[in-house]
């Protein structure tokens, strides 16, 4: 078992989000930072200490925090609301629907510690946040895969007029190898490795694990494509259908329930595109987890390089 939730020997960086948000806010006076008693854990202590007049801690009150952000957005601010993914999605859903998504207020919702990246147990694990956010009209949903993508995403969120939900791990995050891999644009999926036998569509922390799985499969004589789907909505359906058609063998990998997230979104897109293929989803298999270390949970609930290899073998062997 590896001690991390990314591929072994992947370089990492610290506090990509917190640093990028301060840099952005120094240039854009309308950027405000809204928190709910999780300043340190959302890396926004950097913002609080640099730009205190634009930092608002609303306390343990996520529903109110979303309403306050919507009010500030109506006055022209660009509020970034920072808390854990689980609290923003489960505790404030109606407020997000009515005060953010419906009126298209320019609010950026940033959920930390998505899926099984938190040791906090079932109360802290957002395993269906993508499903919830994706179902809201007008909502854009992104999950950057590395530190550079997170930095670029912060800027992209501010440049995008309207509601966005971003889910990211806090603190130490991986750094991908090439500039092409690090690029981020809302609505665009990126091919980070090409091979003709199968395609893995992955998002967030699953991307480096998918690349490691591709290495392992190469050793077994299978060349697979890996696509980083950093925008979950709107989905890059053109690219996804193209690579699914090319290989006819598709695996999705996400740190989320297999219901309603990337695996569902890709399947929907491929069915509508008429792209027939063998298909397997890697993700949390319709179960709650428990409190334990992230590496342990990733291993136990099948969010691992081995699980991706197995899923690829399944679609490859059945060909």
């Amino acid at each position: 078992m590896s001690a991390t939730v990314w591929a072994t020997n992947t370089p990492t960086a610290l506090k990509a989000y917190g640093t990028a948000l301060v840099d952005l806010a120094r240039e854009r006076p309308e950027v405000v930072c809204i928190g709910a008693d999780l300043t340190g854990p959302t890396e926004t202590d950097l913002f609080r200490d640099s730009l205190p007049e634009r930092f608002f801690n609303i306390g343990m009150a996520e529903a109110n925090a979303v309403g306050v952000a919507a009010g500030m957005a109506r006055a022209g601010e660009i509020p970034f609301v920072n808390t854990f993914s689980v609290f923003i999605s489960r505790r404030a859903y109606d407020q997000i629907a009515m005060q953010v998504a419906y009126p298209r207020t320019n609010v950026k919702l940033v959920g930390f510690m998505p899926g099984l990246t938190t040791p906090g147990g079932v109360t802290h694990q957002a395993i269906e946040d993508v499903a919830l956010m994706r179902a809201l009209p007008n909502m854009t949903v992104v999950e950057p895969a590395d530190a550079n993508q997170i930095s670029a995403a912060v800027r992209a969120l501010a440049d995008h007029r309207g509601p966005v939900y971003m889910r990211i791990k806090r603190g130490e995050v991986p750094v991908m190898a090439s500039a092409a891999e690090q690029a981020f644009r809302i609505g665009r999926a990126d091919v980070v490795r090409e091979g003709g036998d199968a395609v893995i569509f992955a998002c967030g922390l699953m991307v480096t694990l998918a690349l490691a799985a591709a290495d392992e499969l190469a050793g077994q004589g299978h060349d697979v494509t890996v696509v980083n789907v950093s925008t979950l909505k709107p989905l890059d359906t053109g690219l996804i259908a193209e690579f699914a058609r090319r290989t006819g063998r598709v695996v999705t990998a996400e740190n989320h329930s297999i219901i309603g997230g990337l695996g569902s979104a890709v399947a929907e897109a491929l069915m509508e595109a008429g792209a027939s293929c063998r298909y397997a989803r890697v993700g949390i298999r319709d179960t709650f987890a428990e409190g334990a270390s992230a590496p342990y949970l990733f291993e136990k609930y099948g969010l691992s390089t081995q699980a991706i290899v197995d899923a690829c073998r399944h679609v490859l062997d059945g060909a």
Partner: protein, 285 residues
């Protein structure tokens, strides 16, 4: 542009005249549909008239003016009274309300923000005050003088979010925020005291750190005094606790607790006749 945003100068008599005008059109408008949140709408008319004709700095020609005062109708169900008030204030012709409640009309029974002058979408109750807090914070951050008003129903105090927002407004010392609690004592299932009594309402807001003014919600002079006092309050938000009577002042509507009341043409005519004895109802089919 901003010099058109002066506070309206209507005195209490003029506000009362406007309130009577609004009441008549609320009755006419609801009668065309045959039912609606009529009792709550009539109960809130004096509050709307006091706000829109003597308090709010608005430019109906530029409804999204950045320096306008914001008034959020958190109750939203009684939007028919807001629509009529906005029309009377000049936001759109009163004739536009002929489509009220019909399929395809922007004048939905429970308002969304498709109508000029409707600030937000609040039919899911208990959300308005939070948005008001955000607007208040932005006004301060931007060093702008516009104020934010929120009309909350007493039933909305059963929603926990209302108290999250109450706590935040006091913590941030938002003296540019004025809440009007329309205490009509009714909710879907009947009298609030039979569903879930809310106890000492004024004491609750005081305990949360607000400046509190208790008024009869049909006493225009009292409402105007309270609004002025709120404007002059510094360092904390103000709550005007306005006791209202659903259906006011129509004798045969007072005391009823119908969440969604029927109003046929004959009843509407009786109500209008009660208001001035001469009104003739024009019912379009």
């Amino acid at each position: 542009m901003s010099d058109r945003l002066g506070r309206p100068v209507a005195d209490a008599d003029e506000v009362r005249t406007q309130a009577d005008h609004v009441r008549r059109h609320v009755l006419r408008t609801v009668a065309r549909v045959g039912e609606g949140y009529l009792l709550q709408a009539l109960g809130a008319v004096d509050i709307f008239a006091a706000l829109y004709f003597s308090e709010l700095r608005l430019d109906p020609e530029v409804p999204a003016h950045p320096d306008r005062d914001r008034c959020l109708l958190s109750t939203a169900h009684n939007s028919v009274a807001l629509y009529v008030t906005l029309a009377a204030r000049g936001h759109f012709p009163i004739e536009d309300l002929a489509s009220y409640g019909r399929d395809g009309s922007a004048f939905e029974i429970i308002s969304s923000e498709h109508v000029a002058g409707v600030e937000g979408t609040f039919g899911s109750l208990g959300q308005g005050l939070s948005v008001g807090v955000g607007l208040g914070l932005s006004a301060r951050l931007r060093e702008r003088a516009w104020r934010t008003y929120v009309i909350l129903g007493d039933g909305e105090m059963q929603e926990g979010q209302t108290w999250e927002a109450a706590m935040a407004a006091a913590a941030f010392q938002l003296d540019n925020l004025c809440l009007i609690v329309d205490v009509n004592g009714m909710q879907v299932e009947g009298p609030t005291n039979d569903v879930l009594p809310m106890g000492e309402i004024a004491a609750k807001w005081r305990a949360f750190g607000w400046a509190v003014h208790e008024v009869d919600g049909h006493d225009v002079d009292g409402l105007l005094r309270a609004l002025q006092a709120a404007r002059e309050t510094t360092g904390r938000p103000s709550a005007i606790i306005a006791a209202t009577r659903p259906g006011h002042p129509i004798s045969f509507l007072l005391g009823r607790m119908d969440h969604y009341a029927k109003l046929n043409a004959e009843q509407a005519e009786m109500a209008l006749a009660e208001l001035d004895g001469t009104a003739v109802l024009e019912v379009s089919s």
